[in-house]
């Protein structure tokens, strides 16, 4: 261990910085959580106070449960997020494998073309996407969202995964070929398990924007039965009146599934981000 790490002052300083950052990062979440359990008056009187016997109220959660089909929204968000992630990972990994493994004409060009998607935001094409969805009759279906999010996630997925797949040793794949494995078996049984940390990284990077997105649900699927959670919560925010209890409660509940997914991926994620950095 080097000297800087043993110096108690340095240790204290680094912990202080990290703790400060943690507090700053968690503060909004904290405020949302405590206020979701307070009465409307208490929220505005003392936004930072904990709910006490006087101010404690579940009115927000009750409104959310009564108003609209909240579980339906929840389910829609879940389906869209999980399905999009599945397709992003599946097609992203396959494309990355092809780019990393096979020498063919236009390989580099294809890689660059796919990487373009990282630089150009998909929202620029919203009008065209909407026209496309209207003419294919996909407006107001979950498929519209799943397809758009898959397209949105693929460029980064291909980029990250192909980099990782290049690191999988050629000998390993060749050993599989001599063992008589098909290219699909090599991909699914040998390469995928080895790039699992990278897959988790891609999953986390894609999951949160998809879950939180308001733009595409609003434009492509605003119908009641296909509303996502983020869009569903908007009913409580009006131009003149906002039901803060309900908004905060809805947001608090929306955090949960993301947290669960994050915990699932996080152990792999850390390995994915640090691998290559340390030998």
């Amino acid at each position: 261990m080097n000297k800087a790490r043993r110096n108690p002052f340095n240790v204290a300083a680094s912990h202080a910085i990290l703790l400060t950052y943690t507090v700053i990062a968690l503060f909004p979440v904290f405020v949302i959580l405590i206020n979701s359990f307070k009465t409307r008056k208490a929220i505005f009187r003392e936004p930072l106070a904990f709910p006490d016997a006087d101010s404690f109220s579940l009115i927000g959660y009750q409104t959310v449960m009564k108003q609209g089909d909240f579980f339906q929204y929840f389910q829609n968000s879940m389906i869209v997020t999980v399905a999009s992630l599945f397709f992003v990972l599946l097609f992203g990994a396959m494309a990355a494998f092809a780019l990393a493994e096979y020498r063919f004409k236009g390989n580099t060009l294809m890689g660059l073309y796919l990487a373009l998607g990282i630089m150009i935001p998909i929202r620029i094409g919203t009008v065209a996407i909407l026209e496309l969805m209207v003419s294919t009759g996909l407006v107001n279906t979950l498929w519209a969202l799943i397809l758009v999010y898959t397209a949105q996630g693929l460029p980064l997925a291909v980029f990250i995964l192909s980099e990782f797949m290049r690191q999988v040793s050629d000998d390993l794949k060749n050993a599989g070929r001599i063992d008589g494995l098909s290219e699909y078996t090599i991909f699914f049984r040998l390469v995928l398990p080895l790039v699992r940390p990278a897959m988790a990284t891609v999953a986390v990077f894609n999951m949160i924007p998809i879950w939180n997105d308001l733009w595409f649900p609003l434009i492509l699927a605003p119908a009641e039965e296909v509303k996502t959670l983020t869009l569903g919560s908007q009913v409580f925010i009006g131009q003149f009146v906002t039901d803060w209890n309900a908004v905060l409660s809805a947001l608090s509940m929306a955090i949960l599934p993301v947290m669960v997914l994050y915990v699932i991926f996080s152990r792999q994620l850390i390995r994915g981000i640090t691998s290559g950095a340390v030998k």
Binding site: D171, A175, L194
Partner: protein, 354 residues
């Protein structure tokens, strides 16, 4: 019958040709070693036989069957890689049986074959471990086990011992030799280490820059090399080469103080330049204060010692001395040798003069 035949095999990467029309016949059950310096194309040639590299032109046949355009899996070969190439997320047992299992062989049969291979290699204790928990030597044994499980006609080894430490290398070398005797399959082995080549091979193929320099049994190559390259490559320490000039049926060696060496071969005319090769084992040091040759460094290995000599022409000479008869560093010496052991090479073509 599972001999391997190469017929004018050529490999090109774009415009760069790396294998230049190789013709080779490897008999059934033979242990054949490809040897040569790095970049000579020996691994490429092996991978062409395995089917991992496409053959640009020419034919490759295994057991009389043309396999030039056949998939690696259908060639009846198994390969052991330098990096072991074990599947890291599977146990030893799964590693060995994975190929068979994926090709739809019944479980019981796979288990039996894996068990048999494990027995041959004494892997019984490690079957449930992951490759991560094994030492280098054990990993390479598992890789060999995986090859045996496939029951191939031809085993291909791509520098299998290069990643092991010196002691293990000797053990594994013996083990591979034993395995060949036991299984009797055709084996092709790539190495850059001429000691491995000498000890294992029935037949050595010396390659340089994509050409075969010479093919023969280890002792043939050692005693009767066709050219300077093979002479220098086979044998440890390598052969000493000195420039000489032909003078009336003898060769004058400036490096040895203008000593004249009687040649029993057809030499070119007077004044022609030839290269003389002398093996370190055939040289003897004699103390001589008047000699311009000086002992620079002595490496004493116990049984033998290697003396490195500085000559007046700047050519270095290595002499193998047995026993305690060692000259101190800085001593002036002359060399004593039987002229019949000297080999003569054409300086420009490097071909052996016979």
């Amino acid at each position: 019958m599972s001999g391997v035949t190469l017929n004018q095999a050529i490999k090109r990467y774009g415009d760069v040709q790396v294998i230049h029309g190789v013709d080779l016949e490897i008999e059934d059950g033979e242990f054949c070693v490809f040897v040569g310096p790095s970049g000579c194309g020996k691994s490429t040639l092996l991978r062409m036989i395995a089917g991992l590299e496409e053959t640009t032109a020419g034919k490759i046949a295994i057991g009389g069957r043309d396999v030039t355009d056949v998939d690696p899996a259908d060639r009846g070969v198994a390969m052991v890689f330098q990096t072991y190439a074990l599947y890291p997320h599977m146990t030893v047992e799964e590693n060995m049986g994975f190929g068979l299992k994926m090709n739809g062989m019944p479980k019981a049969e796979v288990a039996e074959k894996v068990g048999k291979a494990a027995e041959i290699l004494q892997l019984g204790d490690y079957m449930k471990r992951k490759p991560k928990a094994l030492s280098g030597g054990q990993r390479q044994r598992v890789a060999i086990g995986r090859a045996i499980t496939r029951g191939p006609d031809v085993f291909l080894f791509d520098e299998p011992l290069s990643n092991l430490d010196a002691e293990l290398r000797v053990d594994m070398r013996v083990e591979i030799s034993r395995l060949h005797n036991e299984i009797g399959a055709t084996m092709i082995y790539v190495t850059h280490d001429q000691v491995e080549a000498m000890t294992l091979a029935d037949k050595i193929v010396v390659l340089r820059a994509g050409h075969i320099e010479q093919v023969g049994s280890p002792m043939d190559l050692y005693q009767d090399p066709d050219n300077k390259f093979v002479a220098g490559f086979i044998g440890s320490p390598s052969m000493n080469f000195m420039q000489g000039v032909v003078e009336g049926g003898k060769v004058r060696l400036p490096a040895l103080g203008d000593a004249l060496v009687q040649a029993q071969v057809a030499l070119p005319g007077d004044g022609a330049a030839v290269t003389v090769g002398l093996r370190p084992q055939n040289l003897k040091l004699v103390a001589d204060d008047a000699s311009p040759i000086v002992v620079d460094i002595s490496e004493r290995l116990g049984g033998v010692a290697y003396d490195y000599l500085d000559t007046p022409t700047g050519e270095r000479i290595v002499v193998e001395t047995k026993g305690d008869d060692v000259q101190p560093a800085g001593a002036n010496v002359t060399l004593d040798f039987d002229p019949a052991t000297a080999m003569f090479f054409d300086t420009t073509t490097e071909a052996r003069l016979r």
